[in-house]
């Protein structure tokens, strides 16, 4: 049999609570607090919640267990990356190349996600220093945001130095890479243990403040009308495919399935460790952050200060307008508003960073396990790569390159990865082996109905989403008939978008070449598989 790679490169979690906090931190991101309330309000309120929970049970939680199962199975062979994990499941030469998407997708998402994360760090600072105080209208704050992003329209006032977005991006990226360089137990787990309690503390404070906001003069709306805006059921929309797809999409993004970070984290578990209860606890924690806290902050605050129709218009404008323009307007009208602003943007920052540090874990594991590089060397080298292409997003934001990457990697790419995972694990690995693998060391038995769900319902659900999105969005975007950010594509942006796509293709080709090099270097035999290194639970 072939060996299992280079060096003593495998790590472990320090504690079970650290693992769950890191997994939940990975799942809880900006989407929990910005995307969820918008989606709920725009897609039928209570009706959206029905489809949302159906998607959670048929898509989210099953995929969660599948990813934990694939990851821990890979860890048996010291494979913390998808090329190795897929090759461990399917002894076929093609399996390792399918894993290339699991290296490229999280890398690409990490690059632009860190840039967005840097906005939250910047706005936490601007809140503390009251830098945006005085911009008391939605339009005024949008102008301030655009000034920070250096995309102000011609002749519009500029409030920031040109280097400001670059400084915050570089600082945020540095923190991410520093945490990554400290490893699983010493970096990521410690960050989760510090960041997650702060995140929940900030979210609970903000939700409490928002729920008791008084009705504003001239508006007359209360936060409870904001909750009604999210939860009031519009049953007529239950027969719309768009509502079902929106809820499935939200479940998909919020749990970070398809990002290959759950699989990477789970690879650091042994056979005797539970994944059924850990997976469920992680999903449940994420859902509490999203449904209970995420739904209680931004939209109810917007409704209180702008009325239902005003909040609806803001929600149509997008998540960033809601988070970076509306909320600062609200904070300026509250006592200790600058501290509440720090809490809001601090919450978003911790939600972001606990997700982004996870995204370089798969590719770090690949270089360490297959080429024997030191963790610090890999982390800082990847940091340099992220810096170069991250600067592209800072400099070309107005040309749609971030939207382009977000669509192909952060939206479509996630579904592609999930389809590959579920087919490999449930169909090629076989349902009985997958079920047995998931239950090794399990603290709870998963109800047997989920074996049927994971084998048939989840893959069909995913293939339907992939086909629908492919037809409605992917093909028109690829043909430049519409922009990835929505709306009509500006022909002036075509060269930038083409370049952005070419970079993703370049990453994919590089990943395939590196996988080939790794297999040759380590003399892996695709048909024989890897040597098992996790012997825990045997002869004990």
């Amino acid at each position: 049999m072939a060996s299992s790679g280079s060096g003593n490169s495998h790590e472990a979690w320090g504690s079970r609570i650290g693992l769950i906090l890191a997994m939940a931190g990975n799942a809880i991101g900006l989407g929990n607090f910005l995307r969820f309330p918008r989606q709920a309000a725009a897609n039928g309120g209570g009706s959206f919640m029905i489809t949302y929970f159906i998607a959670l049970l048929l898509l989210g939680i099953p995929l969660m267990w599948i990813e934990w199962g694939i990851g821990r199975n890979g860890g048996r062979y010291r494979k913390g990356h998808t090329p190795g994990m897929f090759a461990a499941i399917w002894r076929h030469p093609a399996a390792k190349y399918l894993g290339a998407v699991g290296l490229v997708v999280p890398l690409v998402v990490m690059i632009y996600y860190t840039y967005i994360e840097s906005w939250t760090a910047a706005f936490a600072w601007f809140s503390l220093t009251k830098d945006y105080w005085g911009h008391t209208t939605q339009e005024g704050m949008i102008g301030y945001l655009q000034s920070f992003q250096a995309i102000s329209p011609e002749g519009a006032p500029v409030y920031h130095k040109p280097w400001t977005p670059y400084a915050f991006f570089i600082g945020t990226l540095f923190i991410n890479i520093w945490v990554l360089s400290k490893g699983i137990s010493g970096g990521i787990e410690k960050l989760a243990k510090i960041g997650m309690p702060i995140l929940f503390l900030f979210a609970i404070i903000l939700a409490g403040v928002v729920l008791f906001l008084p009705a504003q003069p001239g508006i007359g709306a209360t936060p409870w009308q904001g909750l009604e805006f999210i939860y009031k059921p519009d049953y007529s929309r239950l027969d719309e495919p768009g509502v079902w797809l929106a809820s499935a999409g939200q479940i998909f993004f919020t749990l970070s399935v398809g990002m290959c970070t759950l699989t990477a984290y789970a690879s650091y578990l042994s056979k005797k460790d539970d994944i059924t209860l850990n997976g469920l606890a992680t999903a449940a924690t994420n859902e509490t952050a999203e449904v209970v806290l995420g739904g209680t902050i931004a939209i109810p605050a917007a409704v209180t200060f702008f009325g239902v129709s005003g909040a609806m218009a803001i929600a149509q404008g997008g998540s960033f307008d809601l988070g970076f323009a509306t909320m600062p307007v609200v904070f300026q009208q509250l006592p200790f508003g600058n501290l509440l602003g720090v809490a809001w943007f601090g919450l978003l920052f911790f939600a972001g960073i606990t997700s982004s540090v996870a995204m370089l874990t798969p590719i770090t594991a690949f270089f360490r396990e297959e080429f024997g590089f030191k963790r610090e060397t890999v982390a800082w080298s990847l940091g340099a790569l992220c810096l170069v292409f991250g600067l592209m997003h800072v400099y070309w934001l107005q040309h749609g390159v971030l939207d382009e990457w977000d669509y192909w990697a952060g939206t479509f790419g996630l579904v592609v990865v999930a389809v590959i995972e579920v087919i490999l694990f449930m169909w090629i690995f076989k349902p009985s082996k997958a079920w047995e693998s998931i239950h090794q060391g399990a603290d709870i038995r998963i109800p047997l109905i989920f074996k049927f769900v994971m084998t048939y319902v989840t893959p069909v659900y995913l293939l339907f989403i992939l086909g629908w999105w492919g037809w409605v969005d992917a093909i028109p975007i690829l043909l430049n008939e519409k922009s990835a950010g929505g709306g009509v594509l500006d022909p002036a942006n075509t060269p930038f978008i083409t370049f952005a796509r070419a970079v993703i293709v370049l990453f994919a080709i590089t990943a395939v070449v590196l996988i080939k090099m790794a297999w040759v270097r380590n003399k892996y035999d695709d048909r024989k598989g890897f040597v098992e290194v996790d012997r825990s639970g045997e002869g004990a």
Partner: protein, 52 residues
């Protein structure tokens, strides 16, 4: 808030909070993974007064 909105909000919150509390209750009950790296003891340390 309308009755139907309260119903959906209460149902949603009960479901996710119930799932969270139940899963963490089960986690707290479990002693098996006290030492997940497998190096140390399988169970928690025995309190000093019990040893005496």
């Amino acid at each position: 808030m309308s009755t139907s909105a309260i119903f959906f909000m209460a149902g949603s919150w009960t479901f996710v909070l119930g799932l969270t509390f139940w899963s963490f209750y089960k986690l707290m009950q479990d002693k098996k993974h006290f030492d997940p790296d497998g190096i140390g003891p399988a169970g928690p340390p025995v309190p000093a007064e019990t040893e005496q």
